[in-house]
Amino acid sequence: MPPKRRNHDIIEVENVGMDVDAEPDSDSEEEARRRSRNRRSKSQRKAKQVSEDEDEDEEEEEDEPPRRRGRRKTTKTDEDETPQRRGRGKRTKPQDSDEDEEGDKRRAARKGSKASKKKAAKETSDEESEEEKVGRKKAGRAVSKKEKEEQNKEQKGNVKGKDGENKDKKKKKKMSSSSSSSSSSDSDEESLSEGEIAALKEQVEEKKKLIATLRNKPWRMNKRLSLLKEAQDFVEKFEGALGKGKGRRLYAFKVMMTKKLIKFNRDFENFKTACIPWERKIKEVESHFGSSVASYFLFLRWMYGLNLVLFGFMFGLVVLPEVLMGLPYGSIPRKTVPRDEEDTAMDFSVLFDFGGYCKYSILFYGYYNNDRTIGVLQYRLPLSYLLTSVGVFGYSLLVVIRTMARNANEGGDGGDEGEFIFSWKMFTSWDYLIGNPETADNKYASITTSFKESIVDEQENQKDENIHLRRFLRVFANFLILCSLGGSGYLIYFVVKRSQEFAKMDPKTLTWFENNEVEFVMSLLGLVCPPLFETIAELEDYHPRIALKWQLGRIFALFLGNLYTFLFALFDEVTAKLETEKSIKNATEWALHQYYANYSSFYNTTDVPPPKVAPADVIRGPCWETGVGREFVKLIVSDVQVTYLTILVGDFARAFIVRFLNYCWCWDLEAGFPSYGEFDISGNVLGLVFNQGMIWMGAFYAPGLVGMNVLRLLTSMYYQSWAVMACNVPHERVFKASRSNNFYMGLLLLVLFLSLLPVVYSMMTLAPSFDCGPFSGQEKMYDVVIETIDQDLPAFIGNIFIYASNPGLIMPAILLMILAIYYLNTVSKAYQQANTDLKKKMQMAREDEKNRRNNKDSTNQVMKDLEDLMPDKSLAPPPAEEEKPPEVVIDKSVKPTKTKPGTAEKGVNVQKEVSLAAPNPRRPVTRAPGPRGGPPGNTRSPQPQPGKGRGQGAAPRR
């Protein structure tokens, strides 16, 4: 083709696209339309070929002039039927060149029939056969490569068209069209070229896409079925034609495998969830009692995991080696019950008090031998004992801090964040998979609970309060609580002082009360103070979640007093024991010395054999470490007893009585006074925290304590979850707990730190007992480490330690750490700031969007307001009355948008903008009925003109 025509051709392409719409003799109007659309989309790159094609068409056109007219008629009708399509293509159509148009039509027609050019007689109309003739003629004339490509394009066009049709949802007609196209494609088989195959592939692809996406369409099944059937028929045919069914089995296998994989993954997830211990129990509790109560159980479970690891350390590195490789029971004095205790050593009362055989068992510090190495493995037990004890603290610190840091990411104090709290709960909380009645009941309960939690939060947000009164009350409440805390602190101090005085006196002259004064006061305080604090906290009227934190903090402070007295008593005991130990040590040394002296003088030899005394008869010191360990163990055991009894009596018996005595009682027990108990979150959490503190402190003196604690946590998990489900009722205001549990963790960290102090103190400063425990014979306990460094490690390591402990090195290190902490702190603050800013921005954007959607209303409102402010308003009372009603209506419609305080500014801005632009166009409309307003306006006109008129550009113009 001559290049000068190129430009024209491109325009022609559009014509072609349009004109195909008018294709009369294709099987249906849709097909033509499809083709046209496809045409248009591909027109640009097809331009060249089309131009060539067109030339041919022009030639053909001369061949058959009579048919043109008739076709033209049909064209018209078809085009009428598809006005929107025509509209798109029409604009560039050069109507004057009738020949061109007709040529295009002809060409299109030929193309439509080209498909059936080989054996179309039974499928096509007479007209088509005529076309066919033409087509064949032309085919014979020009079988160039380009021609072929053109055909392919057409095929593609069919496919594309079908797709488009799908989108248009003109499905019913597709049946016929696709069948025809498939038949025509069938006929094409004989002359398949590469391009055609590609086209077919594409077509099939489309069909396949339809099949794949069919299920995604919200249609009735009937419609889908018919569509699916025809699409499948189509694909089926082409499959045969293209011979592409080879990889089918493999593919089917692949798909099946992916499905199996998905199912396996799902099962695996289920399995993993099933492996989380007590997940179901906790979920059940959560669904009935809310996340606050569940948070206690989560904490308990976490604690159990921690203790399991600690137990692993203690048991694996200390207890087990001693049992396997150490000397057996009865071999040396420290592993034997002394003679005078032997009679009662197996009594239950003694054993229950951890005396007798218990005292001289693997449970306690005193049992361990001070041999530097034991067994064939040359295991350094004393060193391992010390390092494990320190390692327990180190690991606990690490885990607690790591958990806190990780939880901090989850962030929030438990309040819901996000835009759609209630809507999501409403529409997405029910799990449609639930088919089990019990699960369903739990789900109902949990949904109700979560709604209640959110309602509490929401009410808290909506509460408009007298801020001054509230502040005063809060300060007042804190003052009261500080007073009572201080009072109880002083009481504890006073009682402990007194008890020290009593201890110096003869115990027989003291009354029972005087003997047990400390314990009595402590338990009294523990009984009275928490409810008192709770009552005072009512004044503050915090959100229950925050109130719980305050409550926890206050009771924690109270319990610290408890800890203080306990440690104080313990310390007294230790110092007393240290003194007796010193005297006994001196006595034994003196006795030994005497024995040696006597022996050597008697036998006149310096080679003195050790005295032959049965291990049980050896005089021994009090072994203060074992004593301390026993105190801790006893404390834990009694704590467990008290807790379990409290649950049994306070919850179970109470619930039992309330439930069954209610039938024969004079008032309603369930609703009235005793009622059912609520789960005491703060008490239980603090109990757990302090219990753990005891474990940390006691583990050094009694390695068996950790194992006991594991048992305790395990039983209390089952026992408490049973008790809470059986005997308690949910809190009056079910509130959402903080997701992170970080407050509990913070308390735990504090306790951990506090319990670290006495242990490290005793390791570093107190002298170990001379005849029991792994460190006997050492000056200080940590000497084991120094000894090891000196004797067992190469010299340079010892040097390194010496250098490392040099103050010149430690000071810079500490300084560096402080700097690092400062830097990281600053960075985290900056991130936090950025975070809140982003949140604010998102909120703003959302409100903005909301506002934009309501924009008309709000601007109307603004303009109304504006008009109210106009000075002229007062000039014309009658129109003002007319305006009133619409104003009210708009007011109503706008109200629900509820512009929040943040958007107030925006509102102002909008007002400003509008005030610049709006007044002019509005004025004439509202004020048009002029003459009536004239007379009153005249009377008052002087007033507005000088006063407000200056800002109003519009006023003078009127």
Partner: protein, 177 residues
């Protein structure tokens, strides 16, 4: 790729249909014939459909069945039946699920979820355990959150916008059969 998937889908479809037909027939053996070759026009009433274990515990079971039945009364033909489980299956896309969820929660079928619809939904979800004030509060808040065009009811656009951000809609709006 290409057409292979087709055959597979077909096979799958057949398998599904056989299984589903079994389930369908189970509900009303006296109504549903074994032979389905000539597409008999049979509908199983709502009261029978909701006894399926998959639906029995669902608070919205009546609405689900009504929504998917062609007559809107809950009388389901086999096609409706297949339709229902195909829309609720794991692999059906979010858009489709959203459409049907909207229909399910739109009790009065006015193409808007209004306050009455919300109240009904809420009462079914909580078995009516919330006080009327709480119900009103929740409904007001829900509308306030999701209503973008300030017409005091949720249009489909509002609903879609809200649901598209919900984290567990897909996993929860899903029935395995």
């Amino acid at each position: 790729m290409g057409n292979k998937q087709t055959t597979f889908t077909e096979e799958q479809l057949e398998a599904y249909q056989v299984a589903l037909h079994g389930r369908y027939r189970e509900l009303a053996p006296h109504l549903v014939p074994l032979d389905y070759t000539n597409n008999p026009d049979i509908r199983v009433p709502l009261s029978l459909i909701v006894t399926m274990p998959e639906l029995k515990e669902n608070p919205f079971r009546d609405r689900i069945v009504e929504t998917f039945s062609e007559d809107g009364q809950g009388n389901m033909s086999f096609n409706d039946f297949v339709d229902m489980f195909s829309a609720l299956c794991e692999t059906s896309p979010r858009e489709l699920k959203t459409i049907y969820a909207f229909k399910i929660y739109d009790y009065n079928r006015d193409n808007f979820i209004c306050k009455e619809d919300l109240q009904k939904t809420l009462n079914k979800l909580t078995k009516g355990e919330l006080t009327p004030e709480e119900v009103t509060l929740v409904c007001d808040k829900a509308i306030e959150e999701a209503d973008l065009d300030a017409d005091n009811k949720l249009s489909f656009a509002d609903f879609e916008n809200m649901i598209s951000k919900a984290p567990d809609f897909l996993s929860n709006f899903h029935i395995r059969i």
